[in-house]
Symmetry: C2
Subunit: 391 residues, 2 copies
């Protein structure tokens, strides 16, 4: 078959706030070919990502993503890799291209899986889809007491693992942060898996980050996520060397496989967290999993939006039985919930897994595409390059 | 003063082809404040870059670039750095942001320099603007004979240094490439400085690149530029270790200072090439120069467009006397020539330097802004977020 159409849907909550919650808007991609349809989601700013698909060519290696996709043959995984290589080379000077292509690539896997009647993880070469332990991904409370209660609530919902992120951490004294870490441990209980995400708050300041290590170790945090700028490899490596029990985690900012490899090789992370909606889709994410596993680094998905994104993000490491932790958006905005008719709810053991059904096996709700749609029109040189399509 | 207005002008040649010539379109930025105006240029895809300035916020760290710029105080270089840090953090999930901000940042330096009556290189802390040896930057010929003649022509125009790029190199047999390298040396003469740019053609395949080393050494090439993907640090380092006389050069793809530092530290480049229109502007480029110089790595500008971009690109290393090589667009499209009323022509010694006059000291032609303008309108949710402004 050939790629006949690629449609982008920009969706948004009525109000978008400055909180670090990526589920407030969405860019959903529909790819059609050979009588089939596949769906994907960019974890990216919608308007610039649409623009990177439809923009006029600037020169030979600054072409719109559309040029590497529309009309292309899609018969198997190699075709997806071929298109990815085209985008990488022909759009090398278009920075946003990786984010745009991520959702398109995801949708191509979905389409291919549906056409073949196979789950994506099988197309990736895995024999089984193993159970993952979902962690409740939530923000720190404003006070230690709130942090404690958030932990109790997550446990009450059945989550054995809880990640706290952002909030006040790194903005005040180390002692204040220590109170939050202790409250988090108390909230999730002695046997809970505690994960901490500080959202690049320390820039590349190793000393400021290191001041938080003793309290993190005392609270038995499994990992410290994104202490630094996504590319501050030396800072990651230096902090990893000073930590006794807490591993470094990072990688969500990777927009190509090189960045993830460098976090492993130079940043010495113990957990590599990949967002399929940013790194270029499922194919490059699988490459990172292949690179991480033999090096003793654990692959983890990064997912803060819909269950379409969640299913996609589970595929690259579905077959890695020992890589069990899985980010699970515990309190996304209604947009992210309503977007899909299918939801990957934890089973009786509290575990989730990539579905054993064709493609990504998540149905997108046409009603949600209409309800949350943001109308966009882009006109360049008298021509309409983009207008929100019909759902 | 405060940043009162930021305007983007998308310009284009009537026809844009697939050749690797970045001067076929342009994104020019005008920043106004305190009764002054400054100009900059993004070396980036215009439409996605405009979109990254005006797009609605997605969440707290995926904000449009405008949010970190409009209404901000601009009294000195520290304010520019402060806004750069705001963009880096608040737009960390907006991939295109660095390309967008690059032109804005450049225009802020121009504005500040004009307001203070000082050249930008003085604001950067340099005491003098030293002469640079411009190299003619051109593509390889289709045949070795064409390559030879292109070299003779460049020498006849007064260029002692010539860079050949892209074209057939790496697409056929190593022997065919060797013929081009030998022809290039013959064309520019025994005393010419020969530079070779292969535009990432080898991906991360060190062996294929290494097959070209003997002929490059025989032709006495000073550097081999971008043999690999911009982030293929290991491949750069491996090829550098196998080369006896030819240094590696790269860095034009860097969209933050980390990427440039990693090319130096892990990629072992001998020349670090920075495009101020991509790395975030003049400030981060100066940081790269500060990092490179004490490590024995030579800073070189990357410039393939207008003399506005050329002046900006000379500022970060204007004061580094020993860093002499300078990319000089020898045959840009008429758009890039017409864009500025001022041109930095080589002096009697065939050398250029950052002008000793306020700001970037390059006047933009309002007539060119009108003649090459591409009308753009972006509407989101019923509101016009962008419409091409008056020149």
């Amino acid at each position: 078959m050939k790629i006949e159409a690629v449609d982008f849907f920009y969706l948004s909550m009525p109000q978008v706030t400055t909180e670090a919650d990526g589920s407030q808007d969405a860019l959903v991609v529909r790819v059609a070919g050979g009588g089939h349809v596949g769906w994907g989601e960019c974890e990216a700013a919608p308007l610039p990502s649409i623009a990177a698909f439809v923009c006029p060519m600037s020169h030979g290696v600054c072409r719109p993503v559309a040029d590497s996709v529309l009309g292309q043959r899609l018969e198997g995984p190699d075709d997806i890799a071929r298109m990815a290589a085209l985008v990488e080379y022909d759009s090398m000077d278009l920075l946003q291209a990786a984010h745009t292509f991520s959702g398109v690539e995801m949708a191509m896997w979905d389409l291919l899986g549906r056409a073949r009647g196979e789950p994506v993880w099988k197309l990736l070469g895995y024999a089984a889809s193993h159970a993952k332990t979902p962690y409740a991904s939530q923000l720190f409370g404003d006070t230690p007491q709130e942090t404690l209660e958030l932990g109790r609530k997550a446990r009450a919902k059945g989550f054995r693992a809880v990640k706290y992120g952002w909030g006040p951490i790194g903005r005040g004294a180390p002692e204040a942060d220590a109170d939050h870490f202790a409250a988090a441990r108390e909230g999730i209980g002695e046997d809970g898996i505690l994960l901490v995400d500080v959202g690049q708050i320390f820039g590349e300041d190793v000393e400021r980050a290191a001041l938080r290590l003793p309290a993190l170790e005392k609270a038995r945090a499994t990992w410290l996520e994104e202490p630094f700028h996504a590319s501050a490899l030396e800072a990651y490596g230096a902090l990893a060397a000073r930590s006794r029990t807490v591993k470094m985690a990072g990688g969500e900012g990777a927009h190509n496989t090189f960045m993830a490899r460098h976090l492993i090789d130079y940043g010495k992370v113990g957990y590599i967290q990949i967002d399929c909606g940013r790194i270029g889709g499922i194919g490059p994410a699988k490459k990172v999993a292949d690179y991480a596993a033999p090096r003793g680094v654990t692959y983890v998905n990064h997912t803060f939006t819909s269950h379409l994104a969640l299913s996609a993000s589970l595929q690259p490491y579905a077959g890695l039985e020992g890589h069990r932790i899985c980010e699970y958006p515990v309190a996304p905005k209604s947009l992210a919930v309503d977007l899909t008719a299918t939801h990957l709810t934890p089973d009786a053991n509290g575990e989730v897994r990539a579905p054993d059904a064709p493609g990504l096996a998540v149905e997108v709700s046409p009603e949600a595409l209409r309800r949350y749609r943001v109308d966009v029109e882009i006109r360049v040189g008298g021509r309409t390059l983009y207008r929100t399509p019909e759902a």
